[in-house]
């Protein structure tokens, strides 16, 4: 199946172009601090209308993993992480650059990204089909519990107050319940405002939270002219002696990244943090971490690329996105009349394998183009903000307008941008809000369907071993969140008491 799909991708000019264009755009947005892959994918979504459905999805996937490659370039050369997932790369990568080993860092990062990106796709090819077969037996109870489990895991993994994270996710869910209820056909919670009848679309909100809010921050910062570092072509190919110690780190980072990618939340950035910590704990050269360790760069870059494959597993196997990037991909599928999930794998497996094959090809394109064109991609950083910011805002406005052809979405995008700035200033990530908007409709419809099917009996959630296990995991997650809140309250009370004593 995979071999046929690979042949189909390689022999199809439209799919090859889509993959190349996606990777190119992804690398450019990865280089630019500000506009991330989520906002770019959301932005490109309306423009894929004219493309063949598969080419559109391949292009969006290319942006997602291309951004992971691009983020490392500026982290290593300028200590400016283009993406949050490249934050850890900027520590050791930049130190290596200062020691005159930028070529080694860039090579290890590119090869690690390729190796682990391929590992992630291999993991996706092996894990998604059996998971999809299992999911065919899922009813609304199981989908409800998976949605709730996603929320509780997210609340505990995000850091900060678990209760606040959960509350943010609930607010996101409530936003999706404004407007037409698809089950009853009634309009709800419009507060008497006619423009709310259509409800809030996910894409303008996510473009505001992730794109406009970064642009507002960029506009407020002072002008900074970035000097582009020169890396000679010969430096990009280090000796085997330098590369050999990083091979194990690439493999470990790849495995850790894939596993973390399966979890709900900020898959790629979380994967890079976990991989850095795991590599440091297991390394024989701990003292080099933070001072220019090629192993650290290899592990982190491998992890964030492999996490992309992991994050696609729940989307392609279950049809449930656990991150904003995969939610935008889901919107892409739906715009083209496709619905990822167990049925897609059963009824049109060719489509699934073509997407997987395009990712193998895309990874090769990434490594072939990224290394020789490092200097060119780095030059994107020197575009002045007075050109960059208004251009991106204009493109965002066009993108938001074209979702439904209404100015309301453009205003929602701006409001979400302001909300994103306020949330970040108060130390709160906007991610739970975005995840809440993804899981809200799933939880709403599956809860009501479950209750109707069981004639109102709540014991239905314990009726079979799978739903009982999922219910148990959910309760455990909620209990852990409450325990976290109690611990936090005790700590704060102790701090307050110590303050009074002083």
């Amino acid at each position: 199946m995979l071999a046929d799909a690979l042949q189909a991708v390689v022999s199809s000019p439209s799919l090859l172009w889509a993959s190349f264009l996606g990777v190119l755009l992804g690398t450019v947005v990865g280089v630019l601090p500000g506009l991330g892959p989520v906002a770019t994918m959301a932005l490109l979504l309306p423009f894929t209308f004219g493309l063949d459905p598969l080419a559109g999805i391949v292009l969006l996937c290319g942006v997602y993993y291309g951004a992971m490659y691009g983020g490392s370039t500026t982290s290593i050369l300028f200590r400016v992480p283009g993406e949050t997932s490249s934050l850890m790369t900027s520590i050791d990568g930049y130190e290596l650059s200062r020691q005159g080993k930028a070529g080694l860092a860039l090579f290890v990062s590119a090869v690690g990204s390729f190796v682990a990106g391929t590992m992630g796709v291999v993991g996706l090819s092996y894990l998604a089909p059996p998971l999809a077969r299992l999911a065919l037996a899922f009813g609304p109870y199981e989908f409800l519990m998976i949605g709730l489990l996603g929320l509780t895991v997210l609340a505990n993994l995000m850091g900060g107050s678990p209760l606040r994270n959960l509350a943010m996710a609930l607010a996101g869910m409530l936003l999706t319940m404004v407007g037409l209820d698809t089950l009853s056909g009634q309009v709800r919670f419009t507060f008497g405002l006619s423009f709310l009848r259509g409800g809030f679309e996910f894409l303008p909100v996510v473009m505001g939270l992730y794109g406009i809010s970064e642009l507002i921050g960029m506009a407020a910062r002072g002008e900074r002219v970035t000097q582009v570092a020169k890396v000679r072509f010969r430096e990009l190919y280090p000796s085997w002696h330098e590369i050999r110690p990083t091979l194990g780190s690439m493999a470990r980072g790849g495995v850790v990244g894939f596993l973390v990618g399966l979890l709900p939340g900020p898959a790629t950035s979380l994967a890079s943090f976990v991989a850095y910590a795991a590599e440091k704990a297991s390394s024989r050269f701990k003292e080099l971490f933070g001072k220019g360790s090629p192993q650290a760069v290899a592990a982190v870059e491998s992890a964030n690329n492999s996490a992309v494959g992991g994050a696609l597993v729940p989307l392609l196997a279950l049809g449930i996105p656990f991150s904003p990037a995969t939610a935008v991909l889901l919107s892409g599928f739906m715009i083209h009349g496709l619905s990822p999930g167990p049925l897609m794998l059963q009824q049109s497996p060719g489509m699934f394998w073509t997407i997987v094959a395009s990712m193998y090809v895309g990874n090769v394109i990434c490594v072939v183009f990224n290394l020789p064109l490092v200097g060119l991609f780095a030059k994107v950083m020197s575009i002045p903000r007075f050109i960059l910011v208004p251009s991106i805002v204009a493109i965002c406005a066009v993108g938001a307008y074209s979702v439904r052809g209404t100015m309301f979405d453009v205003w929602v995008m701006l409001a979400a941008g302001v909300a994103g700035v306020l949330l970040r200033r108060s130390g709160q990530s906007p991610l739970p809000l975005a995840i809440g908007m993804i899981l809200g409709p799933i939880i709403d419809s599956s809860l009501r369907q479950s209750l109707i099917m069981s004639d109102g009996k709540l014991t239905v959630f314990l009726a079979n071993p799978l739903s009982a296990a999922l219910t148990g995991l959910c309760l455990l997650g909620i209990g852990y969140s409450l325990y976290g809140a109690v611990v936090q309250a005790r700590r704060l009370r102790a701090e307050a008491a110590a303050d009074v004593t002083e």
């Binding site: 309306p46 919670f189 809860l447 109102g456 700590r491």
Partner: protein, 159 residues
Amino acid sequence: MRRGMGVGLLLLVFGVAFISSARQYDFGTLASPGPAMVPVSLSILLFALQAVDLGVALLGRRGTGESGAGDAPRPREAKAGDGRTIFVLTTAGGFALTYLVGLPAAAGAYAAVSSRLLGLRAWWKSLAFGICLGVLVHYFGSVFQIAFPGGWLTGLIWG
């Protein structure tokens, strides 16, 4: 006000707004849930969680874990805050202009003004940039067959 508590209060108000408008919609029963059942349950949960979270924050000196309680903003932060406000207002102005002159022309005007605000010194360069961006947005719409809103003024001029 402590940082983080503002967001908490906003979430609390959000929950209350949903609860207060719930009476207009059918809640249903467990066997036949209405359209209001899930939103109302979620908003009650949101209210309860936020009440607990704010209570936890009030117990401590630093609110929800962030520092800077009641600190006066530093001059650099205040300057960045002004920059943010001006940028948001300019962007809102650009979007509002769409109703008058249509999206491509509004995008061009916005680009010209905001590029000046963001440090482009020569006015003619701002103008040229605005015209280029407006034309690009117009052709972008033509290529991707996006019907942009025309605007009241352009409608008056071009019919």
